[in-house]
Symmetry: C2
């Protein structure tokens, strides 16, 4: 059934909910198999971190990408689950790194079960994820996946090195977000296509789509860190600034400001970033330099490029229904508020 | 060349040094390939943690196990490197979990480069390790490996749960060390055999060998935590007690003590374990209950069982030379003092 112009959001919502429900069933069965006889605390920690209302966007991408290359069967959902495991593994480790207490309005694993449990549960999920990819997508899938995870770690290192550095460039910012988010989303899409036996052109198109929506996702994330409503996002605004991360809104403000405004921004970056007044002053300066609108424009351009990459897909109704969902998903990234 | 009775240690030393040198060369080449264009800090952290005088026992096991099943070629050393990567990944994460400042007399990665760098570098090594195993040992190798890493995490959880619990059983202790150390060493051996196209019986024998020496290794490790010379081991004694880990010497003392001695031990476990007097008192009680000697006996029994498992190998001189090295390695585990 092709999407109609009147109800794209509802089609996407329906597809997302259907896939998410199936992924959760597969995940529960997989955990039962993999954790048979395991320590009850490990099971508890994994269930706590895996079943907390996650949107399952990565598995949805794997499923849709495989589906639009002609495959949609039972093993696909186990393969797709591997991407959710990896995603959650990185969240759990990130929360240790960032000393985060809350995630999606709940205590993080690190806060609730302690740092050892968080590091170990992340390692378990990481191992299980690669295990499934290796088994289901073969050596070629594992290659794509491991290059993406290695590049994710490298992106984190590049970000660490740039903390509090007001000379960071746009190029550096995009290099970091492509490595941290884009490559992994691209691999999620490319491996879905590979699994379906797609042509090289189809795989490339879906990887490009994934790379662009991954970058857009991160740009929106960085924007929500300033503009988000804590009741929706479940976390305070201004974290990135406090941590010294020069994300796109601030970077664009730095680029467009001159004279005393630029000096004022640099002074705030170098000063005590934990003071609420510092954040409020910075926020006003970014707004004045149109940094928020310019960031939102960038996200829109990325989503447009993602959608363009899908042009190679055939006109067959069946394929176009799935392609339409991928387009809706790209659009959803712009609209999300949490 | 078969080992002679007069020079087993020197044959093993020679083989170990030759393999270690070759592994380090392969590791440097692999890092250059995998990290081309990467962040300089990631490269620095990985080099710091990988090239610090490690004994490369795991790669040596992979090489010897493959060799006694008839294969000894270039790719074997890259496969063997994967086990060193995983080993170092777990050490780096363990040091975060244990808040360790020193390892082998040097600052830990966590202490020197910070916790984010340590978690991320561990994740990179973990990913690279599985990538190599999947590529070189196929889906079957990845299965063995991932079961072992999952069980390692589970062992850590079982250990966490038993912290400070004086009712811990011998069975629980061996379950934990087999999961934490035995399974992974067994997988190192089994995958070496699999790589060489060994028979099921050969693979099973080498896995049993690995499981027993892995357990013996951990028993000796736990003994060195009490009896080691900090100048040799590079770490203080008594860490396990301070952390509330009921390892074999203490467990055997608890089992054999009765009346006031047992009460005294239990009081020390429940009390403030950071006081040096508490540790000295506990040490005396373990010695009085013969806990150290009984633990050393256990390690000897495990090593004897490991050596017995090798009996199935053919009498061919070439194979027996390698089997002799595996036997020497098992013996070395008892003799090590760091």
């Amino acid at each position: 059934m092709p999407t109609t112009d009147t109800a794209p959001a509802s089609n996407l919502r329906h597809a997302a909910a259907t896939v998410a429900a199936r992924i959760e069933t597969v995940m529960r069965t997989d955990l039962e198999t993999a954790l048979a006889g395991c320590d009850p605390l490990l099971m508890e920690v994994l269930q706590y971190t895996l079943f907390n209302g996650g949107k399952r966007i990565r598995p949805l991408l794997t499923v849709l990408c495989s589906r639009c290359c002609g495959r949609d069967d039972e093993p696909l959902y186990l393969l797709a689950t591997a991407f959710e495991y990896l995603h959650v593994a990185t969240l759990v480790h990130d929360d240790v790194i960032d000393h985060a207490e809350q995630r999606r309005g709940q205590a993080t694993v690190a806060a609730r079960h302690g740092i050892p449990a968080a590091i170990l549960a992340g390692d378990w999920l990481h191992a299980r994820s690669m295990h499934l990819i290796g088994r289901l997508a073969g050596a070629e899938g594992l290659d794509i996946f491991c290059q993406a995870t290695a590049s994710m770690v490298n992106g984190e290192f590049e970000q660490l090195r740039a903390i509090g550095d007001s000379t960071t460039t746009r190029q550096h910012y995009f290099s970091v977000i492509r490595q941290k988010t884009g490559n992994l989303i691209a691999s999620t899409c490319a491996i879905g296509a590979l699994f379906a036996g797609a042509t090289i052109a189809e795989r490339q198109a879906l990887a490009t789509y994934g790379d662009h929506i991954g970058a857009a996702f991160q740009v929106v994330d960085d924007l929500l860190d300033y503009l988000g409503d804590p009741h929706s996002t479940g976390k305070k605004t201004g974290n990135d600034f406090v941590e010294g991360k020069i994300t796109l809104p601030l970077l664009l403000a730095l680029n467009s400001a001159s004279g005393t405004d630029r000096q004022a921004i640099e002074t705030l970056i170098r000063g005590d970033r934990t003071r609420p007044e510092a954040y409020h002053r910075l926020y006003a300066l970014i707004e004045q330099q149109d940094g928020f609108n310019a960031s939102a424009d960038t996200a829109r351009h990325l989503v447009a490029s993602a959608v363009e990459a899908l042009a190679i897909f055939a006109d067959a109704t069946e394929v176009q229904a799935t392609v339409a969902l991928l387009k809706d998903l790209a659009g959803y990234i712009l609209a999300r508020n949490k």
